[in-house]
Amino acid sequence: MKPGFFLKESLRSMRRNAVPSVAAFASVLVTTLVLGVFIPVVQATNGAADDVRGRVLVDVDLNTTATPAEVARVHAELVRAPHVKSVRFVSKQTGYEQERKLNPQAFALIGYNPLPDIFRVTPSNPGDSALVKAELDQSSPRGTRLVTDPAIAAVQNSQAETNQILSATRTIKLTMALLAALLIFASVLLISNTIRLSLFSRRREVEVMKLVGATDWFIRWPFVLEGLFLGALGGGAAIGLLALAKVTLVDPLANTVKLISQPDMIAFPLLIAILMGCAVAVSAAGSGLSLRRFLRV
């Protein structure tokens, strides 16, 4: 193998086939750019959906007469119960203060604290809230309640709202996944088509090379290198534009708009690395693989 020769060959062929080269560069640029915008958008949307889902809670109300010993017992039971991620205790007093702040007049009117001690239970999975409720508060066939602990007065999982949240976020996530799949599919098609076209216009050249006695890899290396260069150039240009957009548009907004500063959003350097890797790998591998059809001479 002669790297210098192959390098020169690939540079020459890019120069001599300027139009297909520019087309390949442009298609890599556009797809990388679109992916670069879309990946954070998907992530932010998913993050927001997860955030909403994280608010699905099961409230376990204790009897207003519950003693501290009973509170401790129920806490232990809840922690042990399946499908429970975390348990937060809101005492009578804390609850009263919070609610009074929201609605001072109503509480002034009541004049005393009507609230029970409450456990806010976060299910390990938002969809499991019904299971958690069933675990703690079962209904008998006759409709009477079979509470697992006498200190528990009621278990509320606000069924209707929970279902709404779950179905809405599920729809959003599914739509995003579908869009992402479509976009990736379209990108691969676009790049492979561009490569195919540029190779097709040079299939005679490949045929002649084979007839002169060139081995497959002797022909393939310059094409792979060409794909590598064009992928790197297109990917690099797209990343440059993305960085520009990030610095000028996204960063100033990050403080004011919640979505953009999602904690689980992909880090910019990682995003760059992924995009660059994909752009280079897809175009280099694409060139090498698409060539196979024309090498059968």
Binding site: K2, S13, N17, G213, D216, V297
Partner: protein
């Protein structure tokens, strides 16, 4: 002897060594005519034995063709379009595999060459096509150099070998032209130069003059003749029967995939140099044209 001829002769003995006992002496052609027996089995460069090629849909490309070509021979395959000339050429560069029979080149059964080894085999066979098949984005020099580059030749080797070949083919002044800047005859010269660049022991030309006018054709034939005299076995497929008759070399005639004639012309033995050949071809062409002028077009 020119330096090129010296190189060619020297190389002939080292490339494509014949395997002992691999080649059997051919006795008959497909049409049952006697063929000149090979003097020495190592002398046979190309051998086809009972070779048939069926294309899909029942088309026959070649039917039980049997013939042998000795080293340093110049052989013409003639016949109308579709008679099987190109099929033989494509079989010889292993672009096609025979449906039946054995194709041997320098004693090697081509069916035993693995797909991966085909490029290495092809480097020992120069090929010239009717449509030249030059690389459009490369200059004359680069086109010819490519044939050497594929073999892994260094730039220095290429720089020392190429001028001789380009001089031999009369392309010294066109080095930096691209194929589209050349006439048909010049392009075909480039193709011949490329085919001969690595001094292969066997050179195949498929309708090399098919797209060229008579005068240019004579030039290409002279070139092939010169290469043949330098020690390379040359097989030319053509439908230009008049040219073949005037060349006075062995002729294998094909018709619908069958060999119908395989004979050496009477004056075969007479040696001419390249210039004498060119002069004679021109003179005979002129005579024929003059006669046509008097008698009207033939047929």
């Amino acid at each position: 002897m020119s330096p090129v001829e010296t190189i060619a002769r020297r190389r002939l003995n080292v490339t494509l060594p014949a395997r002992e006992g691999a080649v059997r002496r051919p006795t008959t052609t497909g049409a049952g005519r006697a063929v000149r027996p090979a003097r020495d089995r190592r002398d046979v460069v190309v051998e086809l034995r009972g070779v048939s090629k069926l294309y899909g849909a029942g088309d026959t490309g070649l039917e039980r063709a049997t013939f042998a070509v000795r080293r340093q021979e110049m052989v013409f395959l003639v016949g109308p379009t579709g008679s099987g000339k190109s099929t033989i050429m494509r079989l010889l560069i292993k672009e096609l595999d025979p449906s039946e029979g054995v194709v041997r080149v320098a004693g090697h059964d081509l069916s035993e060459i693995a797909r991966k080894k085909i490029p290495y085999y092809r480097r020992n066979v120069g090929v010239v096509f009717q449509d030249f098949k030059l690389l459009p984005n490369r200059t004359v020099y680069e086109n010819v150099a490519y044939a050497l580059q594929v073999t892994g030749a260094s730039r220095k080797q290429i720089r020392t070998t190429l001028p001789d070949i380009l001089h031999l083919t009369g392309l010294s002044t066109k080095l930096h032209n691209y194929p589209h800047q050349l006439s048909g005859g010049e392009q075909q010269r480039v193709a011949v130069a490329r085919a001969f660049a690595s001094h292969p022991p066997l050179l195949l030309a498929d309708e090399p003059t098919g797209n060229l006018d008579p005068e240019t054709s004579i030039g290409i034939m002279q070139l092939l003749y010169r290469i043949n005299r330098a020690g390379t076995t040359v097989i030319v497929a053509t439908h230009d029967r008049e040219m073949v008759d005037r060349m006075r070399r062995r002729v294998i005639e094909l018709r619908r995939g069958r060999i119908v004639r395989d004979e050496a012309t009477g004056l075969y033995a007479r040696e001419e140099n390249t210039n004498e050949l060119g002069d004679r071809l021109r003179a005979e062409t002129a005579t024929v044209n003059a006669a046509r002028g008097i008698l009207g077009p033939k047929r």
